[in-house]
């Protein structure tokens, strides 16, 4: 078995359909891609009052499911890809093994929740961008990208889903999201602790890792899917991020990056719509 596993080789059964980030962002069914008219709701936050709430929640749950599979695979690869001692500390690899078990449980939970919510495996496409963050050849960058950025996003997603379950009167959903949220806070804290410990005497490596995290944070903001704005379906869970070891300044940075991603996405959408109108007129 080789070291470092490419994202296009991830093994899946016949039910899964994988797509890229750009394909996902160009999906016209996304609420952020809807035409900017007076009829369009200004708030996209996932709430039971949204007309498309059921399908949006099912889609998000399927996204969580495939995300958990990739997080499981990423944690497992970190156990395998780095030599103990010379490339990664023994205790770090033990933490990654623990995370693999946690992610395996999350896959189990999200499969059962998806069934509960009335959807099937493979009903929605799988965006493989999450595993790409786990392909770095530097374990510190992997921790920054996966544990701090990706698992940080998971904190935001689970908080939103937990609130959704509470408002919708679905204690089953709320109960499961609460448990997964507890694990994700642990994983982010793991990433924060290891990042600080390993780069304690290596400021350049820490800077590089934090820059990588920022890039991943922006990508994982899903072009505005997650931010403080009500226009984003997923909110930023500031309190749980503090528990997970983020400083106030780091939370503010993520909030800024997320808002910028939202504005860029809106500008991209406006431009795409203007181009389409122009092309239609020309034809």
């Amino acid at each position: 078995m080789r070291k470092f596993f490419p994202v296009d080789s991830l093994a899946r059964d016949s039910r899964f359909n994988q797509i890229t980030m750009s394909q996902s962002q160009a999906d016209p069914r996304s609420p952020l891609m809807a035409a900017d008219t007076d009829k369009r709701p200004k708030a996209n936050r996932l709430q039971p009052s949204r007309p498309d709430a059921s399908d949006a929640a099912r889609s998000l749950m399927h996204g969580i499911f495939v995300g958990e599979i990739q997080a499981l695979e990423g944690a497992g690869r970190t156990c395998h890809d780095f030599e103990t001692g010379t490339e990664a500390p023994f205790a770090l690899k033990l933490d990654m093994a623990r995370q693999a078990w946690d992610e395996a449980r999350h896959v189990e939970i999200s499969v059962k929740l998806s069934e509960w919510m009335g959807s099937e495996i493979g009903q929605y496409a799988e965006n493989t961008v999450l595993f790409e963050a786990a392909c770095s050849t530097d374990p510190v960058l992997r921790l920054a990208g996966v544990n701090r950025a990706l698992e940080g996003l998971a904190i935001d997603v689970f908080t939103t889903m937990k609130e959704f379950g509470g408002i919708a009167g679905d204690p089953y959903l709320e109960f499961c999201e609460d448990w997964m949220l507890a694990d994700e806070v642990t994983h982010v804290k793991m990433g924060s602790d290891w990042l600080r410990r390993i780069t304690e005497n290596d400021p350049d490596r820490r800077k590089k890792a934090l820059e990588f995290q920022s890039v991943v944070d922006k990508i994982f903001s899903f072009g505005g899917t997650r931010s403080d704005s009500q226009e984003s379906p997923i909110g930023l869970a500031r309190r749980f991020r503090e528990l997970a070891g983020f400083t106030d300044a780091e939370v503010e940075d993520i909030a800024d990056v997320s808002l910028r991603a939202l504005e860029e996405r809106k500008e991209f959408t406006r431009q795409a719509q203007a181009d389409a109108v122009e092309q239609f007129a020309a034809s």
Partner: protein
């Protein structure tokens, strides 16, 4: 109420633990170092394979079992300094070169069509050898002086038995044709021969026939 000052035997009639054991501190540390090395290789392999298997149920079980073996490695890592080895890495070693060869062959399959080979290596060869080596150690070490090792062996054995059962059931559900039976058997034989050359998880004497017996 019984007189609290009445002398009692230090070992109650039902406590039949014996002082003698087959292993001295040095031999115990050597074995524990071999166990830690082997458990590490196993959890690393299981972790690496998660991304390579398409079967969803197998993928999830590998993630769970990956942690079990990492935890065993951690327990052995913590035991080494208690056995006068203050640098645990010094004794975290394969039993011999044949064991290294065995692990290389075990971890060779990567393609998504080779789940049977991956599972055969772990659940029909590696884990059964852990069970036998741990059982031999547990039944032959001093029940009093080496109680901490026995406790770890019991905890690890519980996982080994559970994981073996999970793995065997996954294999039985994946093997659907006589050709697949042959594939599994061929890979089993290949790996078992390498394990035979290694003499077991802790080398020759893993389950007895030690060249020298001390402490009896």
């Amino acid at each position: 109420m019984a007189d609290p000052f009445k002398p009692r035997a230090p070992f109650a009639p039902w406590d039949r633990r014996q002082l003698p054991g087959m292993f001295d501190v040095e031999e115990t540390a050597r074995r524990v170092g071999n166990y830690k090395w082997a458990e590490m290789k196993l959890f690393e392999a299981l972790g690496g394979w998660i991304a390579t298997v398409p079967e969803l149920d197998v993928k999830m079980r590998l993630g769970t079992h990956c942690y079990h073996h990492a935890w065993h490695a951690e327990l052995w890592h913590k035991r080494l300094p208690e056995l006068r080895e203050m640098n645990p890495d010094r004794l975290t070693l394969p039993a011999n070169d044949a064991m290294v060869e065995f692990v290389a062959a075990l971890t060779e399959p990567e393609a998504p069509e080779t789940t049977i080979e991956k599972l055969v290596g772990v659940y029909r060869v590696f884990i059964p050898h852990f069970i036998s080596a741990y059982t031999f150690h547990m039944n032959n070490t001093s029940e009093i002086t080496d109680a901490p090792t026995i406790r770890t062996l019991k905890l690890a054995l519980q996982d080994e038995f559970d994981d073996w059962r999970d793995g065997e059931m996954m294999l039985q559900s994946l093997i659907e044709t006589p050709e697949e039976v042959d594939r599994a058997a061929a890979h089993h034989a290949k790996l078992e021969k390498l394990m035979l050359a290694a003499g077991g998880i802790a080398g020759p004497g893993s389950i007895g026939n030690l060249p020298a017996v001390k402490g009896n």
